[in-house]
Amino acid sequence: MATLIHDRPEHVRLSAEGKPVTLLEAIREGIWEEMERDERVFLLGEDIGAYGGAFKVTEGMQERFGALRVIDTPISEIGFTGAAAGAAHMGMRPVVEMQFIDFISCAYDMITNYIATSRYRGSGGVPMVIRGPSGGGVRGGPFHSQNPEMAFFHTPGLKIVYPSTAYDAKGLIKAAIRDPDPVLFFEHKWLYRRPQLREVLPAEDYTVPLGEARTHREGTDVSIVTYAAMVHKSQEAAEQLQREDGLSVEIIDLRTLLPLDEEAILASVRKTNRLLVVHEDTRTGGIAGEIAMRVNEKAFEWLDAPILRVAALDAPIPYSPPLEDFFLPGVEDIVKAVRHLAAY
């Protein structure tokens, strides 16, 4: 990869210069580097050009790569998602931005019926990425706070990625862009600019493979399987539990939800014999169910306690701070659940 670092504007050469980056900056660098590396990569979305996107992820890209590689679209989630698929058929590598991931619902048919099935139908793989800001905790109300993973988790043919750290976010967005199949890439907006998540990333090109979970924290008493913002709430809970109860909590960050890294989950369960799944998404029909099923199928004998979960309430995500705080799973919920499991 013959990258000319000095050609890059300042805001996309932080890692190259050894400076720490936020999760948002990591994603921006990842996309930029892939645009440099592979001229087939191009971007589609609302206000991503001169404006740089609602969250400025694509800032500076149109200026650098031109209006045919960074395309401001009409307000047409079906239209530009479908167009990305068509371009992918022709050998391109489109990356689509949903201004808020909530609007991915408008393209639901195109994604699940057209894109996800293309390879199976004999129309070839559709290497494309659909990405956008997701998640709650920012007072965005019911349509700027959603976690849409389970709307797509059930669709064979798709991959789903949801990173929790800057390192993973960069490595995974790059891997997603290079992947031969369609990838949904969710970016938790509560993590985007969190100063606590800033980290110095490798100056060189790297990817993080899709489909592999990561042990965020080693532990021996109880396993927490989680992802995205809840990794950090789980970490907070784990520290409190260590401090107050002397409990050793292991945290598995799924990173990729589909395909699910079953082996990583099973390995942790076989070690701790107690499993808590934590997700920010609503409870009924959340990913905890699939995980519980897999563990039942393959590691039932290792369980010393029921599989439990901490998740958001079964409601639309409300706007007002007391309601949203009550709606979202909190550190206290995790602490309580782990204590219960440890004592079981």
């Binding site: 609302e46 009409p74 307000i75 408008c106 109300g141 439990l308 309430l313 409601a315 639309p316 409300p318």
Partner: protein, 357 residues
Amino acid sequence: MPNQTEAPPVEIPHALVRGDLLALYRYIRLTRTLEERLVNLHRQNKVVGGLFRSLGQEGESVASAFALRRRTDGTGDMLSPLIRNLGSMLVMGAEPVEVLRQYMAKGDSPARGKELNIHFTDYQRGFVGQISPLGDMVPVMTGVTLTFRQRGEERVGMVYLGEGATSTGAFHEGINFAAVQRCPLVVIVESNGYAYSTPTAKQSAVKAFVDKAPGYGVAGEQVDGNDVLAVYGAARRAVDRAREGGGVTLIEVITFRRLGHAQHDNQSYQSVEEIERWASTNDPLDRYVATLLGNGWASEADLAGLDTQVERELDDAIAVADASPLPQDEDTLLDVYADGPVPLPWTRHTLPDPARA
């Protein structure tokens, strides 16, 4: 501009009376001032989340809604606003205190803290709260007005959307179905130059959005959106047509969004001159004031009196809204279903022992 002391009285158009003219003025002023007050509250961190302005568009918003039959008992016309139609909501009877409570995420706001800003509903007064995905309200209002037809009620619906939202499939499917069913629906397309940062030329290749009307077989009209009475006239014609069984009208309102998409938007994509030009020569309120005074339909004192009234009303409303309580935690569980609250997660109970229960 004033001082035409003895000229013969100029006839008021569109069968409006002087009281209507002053009411229109008051609503426009109320819209603008309420938004300015919201900016202050936003600075004080009392507004929760984003803040959306309609500066420069208040005239069309108010004047179009003013053409509707307004009732408070659920028998009048129905309207579905978009984010920049605070003015239309006020015309339909939304109270500033309700808007303030919404923006301040209060528990006694119309949406009880569950939804934000002007996303709220009152079927009695005749407005349906929008959701964020653009275009969706067009099919919904098609259904509202379909029911007027089904029941033989002489009621009309009006739905707003920005020119950007005409690109959505929802708009297309909704207006087409309404056209086929000859629903009494007025679709107001607010052509305000931009969709967030996207200029109209990147949104559509159409010469004018009114050209979409023949493509649906509906009536179309284009109007200067910053001419309050012209907008009223166009809306009135469309509302009358709808009420008389003439079906759908698409009105393209030409206006300009002088502030950012929302409070955080720095408008880097607009030229300062363009904004300045619209502000100085084509502000709907300024133009309307000039019309009122120039035609002798109102005096400066009349308007000043209304301004003072508005300021006072808002002072009071802000005090009340500020004192309103936030919602209670467990309200989160209510109104998902009619059957009762959804279950509290076990980790919120005092005695968690779910697996041995």
